[in-house]
């Protein structure tokens, strides 16, 4: 393959930046439009609500981004979330004096185990991620149902300290938002400033090269699914704490929202590509759509179609931008 080089080159950072700026631009335009229709949109309290409601999605999106970077996908996170939420809340209802931190740890632990199983299936048994997670989604969901016996855990069965996990706040910032921020800082550092974090990109960018240069591809693959599971487990606890109710069908289908947020945020399903900064704008746009559509009195029957159209447009536009840059840069080798 031959290519022209050295002329008109635009660096990797530049491509990402243009993409992110266009997304942020879109978010701003959308926000102004919504604000125009409902002046309550850009108030502190609504922004607080918006961020709180997006927090869990954003936590899951970080894990999903890492999975997708390694060319994988995880459809089981909704089920893992429900399983962890159910087990934790059942524990809490039986031992009301349990410290909330312990509850969080239980949830993360359950998530980690679930994720580790999937990681094992994908890394060691070479089962394609979409199949492994599709199968385990059924299994986790079924287990949640069996252990709960079809019952819900309701608000009155949960201790106040447990519910306070998601309602409490520090320095006026809701705990959920704080947890999400901490997660983002931790993973921003992990992905950009640790060797293991960079290996995730290496594995996704070229598994063959990674293998030859001595990176343990299986271990990295296993790791990202375990992290994804752990984050889903954490989200499970936050979810049941936030809504003060645990059901076996909690967050059913939620994985699609998370994947959509990642995609809007510029994470490439083909692997190797995706940044935390991009992801934040993707998650924000998704959160704004969820928050704004009810506020500007869009008919509930139109909400689905509008969401679909916005995702499609966001994806197509970003593809066009990339193509523009690509053609002036003649990246003909990428696939």
């Amino acid at each position: 393959m031959s290519e022209k080089s050295s002329k008109n080159k635009i660096s990797l950072e530049r491509i990402q930046q243009i993409r992110e700026f266009s997304l942020i631009g879109f978010i701003i335009v959308l926000s102004i439009f919504v604000q125009f229709r409902n002046s309550n949109f850009l108030t502190m309290s609504n922004i607080d609500d918006l961020l709180t409601n997006t927090a869990i999605l954003s936590i899951l999106a970080v894990g999903m981004m890492m999975v997708i970077i390694t060319r994988g996908i995880d459809l089981s996170i909704g089920a893992t979330l429900a399983l962890s939420g159910m087990v934790t809340s059942m524990t809490v209802s039986n031992y009301p004096s349990l410290h909330p931190l312990v509850a969080l740890l239980i949830g993360i632990f359950i998530g980690l185990i679930s994720g580790a199983i999937i990681g094992l299936l994908v890394a060691k048994f070479n089962i394609l991620p979409i199949i492994a997670t599709l199968g385990m989604m059924n299994v986790f969901r079924g287990i949640t149902f069996l252990i709960s016996g079809g019952k819900w855990v309701s608000a009155y069965q949960m201790s106040d300290s447990f519910k306070a996990i998601s309602t409490g706040s520090i320095l006026g910032i809701n705990n959920l938002i704080l947890i999400a921020i901490i997660i983002y800082l931790v993973f921003y550092y992990f992905i950009n400033y640790t060797r293991t974090g960079r290996k995730i990109y290496a594995v996704g960018s070229s598994p063959e090269s990674a293998k030859i240069s001595g990176i343990n591809v299986d271990r990295i693959t296993w790791l990202v699914y375990s992290i994804m599971g752990g984050l889903a487990g954490l989200s499970g606890v936050l979810w049941v704490s936030k809504f003060a109710s645990a059901q076996s069908n909690t967050a059913s289908g939620y994985e699609m929202n998370v994947i959509a947020a990642c995609v809007i945020g510029g994470v490439s399903i083909a692997g190797g590509e995706g940044k935390v900064t991009g992801l934040i704008s993707g998650v924000l746009l998704y959160g704004i759509l969820e928050n704004a559509l009810p506020m500007i009195n869009v008919s509930p029957f139109w909400q689905n179609a509008i969401q679909g159209a916005v995702i499609l447009i966001a994806v197509l536009v970003s593809a066009l931008i990339k193509r523009r840059i690509g053609s002036s840069n003649k990246i003909r080798r990428e696939d």
Partner: protein, 336 residues
């Protein structure tokens, strides 16, 4: 590198063009394993329920799962590309809703059915054209967006209403029998299955589909109209979703924008269990057919002894993972 050249130019040698029959190769095929599972399921089911092993039951059982199986036929082509189409459930809803609304607005039923098929074709065509024109986007992304969009349109059209009241003869699709015991849907499915089998395995079209799934660049260089064939396959998938919509709508007698949600994952599970690899280029129609009936009868049989749905889901989930794990053992040749 197995066949090393070492003797330089010799006289043109005879190259064999007849296949050597290998018993091992013949039996170590994915389809045989599926066949064994298929038999096992029937043995287990008949042990579990006294009602199971009965011509009526078995024939009737097919009515419960064949509607989505139609999509599995064309989804096989999509997955052989290495692509995936998760918008089919929404396409069903959209096609069905438009058909019902137009019928109730006075359009004769046969025309409404045609429109239903046309909606499926258009929905599939849009998927296809977007995937071909935006090669940097994977099919997952495109169909994820249209999945939300198509169902959204169905909601806009019908809001919270149901629509139905179809003529009596329309019931025949989902509920009718031929020769009093053979479900019409089974007959229709067998015909469709034969057509798709031939299309995939006997025609140049099928050969090109495999070629694209294996290596689309080489296919393009070999004169295969890659884009055109991709669009056709996605359009076909939309059409099959519309056909599934006909059977499902007939079965329910009325329609709503929320029908067939989650169908896409059922369909994908059928195809994947059938040995079609989502990484593309591999898989056979026979495997998919076996897997359709394995999942269908397994569900039906366990349902017949009133195993909770969730437990059935666990069984299917484990079956899916185990079978794929087994196929990874490289024991099985799994070629086109």
């Amino acid at each position: 590198m197995v066949n090393n050249s070492n003797n330089g130019i010799t006289l043109n040698r005879e190259i064999k063009s007849e296949k050597e029959f290998s018993l091992k190769k013949f039996f170590f095929q994915w389809e045989w394993l599926l066949f064994l599972i298929f038999i096992a399921i029937h043995i287990i089911n008949s042990q579990l329920s006294p009602y199971y092993l009965n011509t009526y039951t078995l024939l009737d059982a097919t009515m419960t799962f064949l509607d989505k199986a139609f999509i599995a036929l064309s989804m096989t082509f999509v997955i052989i590309f290495g692509d995936i189409d998760i918008s089919v459930g929404s396409t069903i809803a959209l096609a069905s809703v438009i058909m019902a609304v137009l019928y109730n607005a006075g359009l004769p039923m046969p025309l409404a059915i045609l429109v239903c098929l046309l909606v499926g074709v258009i929905a599939g065509f849009i998927n296809g054209i977007l995937i071909v024109k935006f090669k940097e986007l994977s099919a997952v992304i495109v169909t994820l967006s249209t999945m939300i969009l198509y169902r959204g349109i169905a909601y806009i059209i019908l809001e919270n209403q149901a629509s139905g009241g179809f003529p009596m003869w329309f019931n025949f699709l989902g509920w009718g029998y031929i020769k009093t015991i053979i479900p019409f849907i089974l007959v229709a499915f067998i015909i469709a299955a034969v057509i798709f089998y031939v299309l995939l395995h006997k025609t140049t079209f099928g050969r090109k589909v495999y070629a694209i799934g294996n290596n689309d660049v080489a296919s393009l260089f070999s004169g295969v109209k890659v884009d055109k064939i991709k669009i056709i396959v996605f359009t076909l998938n939309g059409l099959m979703a519309a056909i599934a919509a006909l059977f499902l709508t007939s079965k329910m007698g009325s329609t709503r924008p929320n029908i067939a949600s989650g169908y896409e994952l059922d369909v994908i599970a059928m195809v994947v269990l059938g040995g079609v690899s989502t990484s593309g280029g591999k898989g056979r129609m026979i495997g998919v057919l076996l897997s359709i009936f394995i999942i269908g009868f397994l569900r039906y049989g366990l349902g017949l002894v009133n195993v909770p749905d969730q437990v059935i889901l666990i069984v299917i989930g484990i079956l899916l993972i185990f079978s794929v794990m087994l196929s990874n053992l490289k024991l099985f040749s799994n070629k086109s």
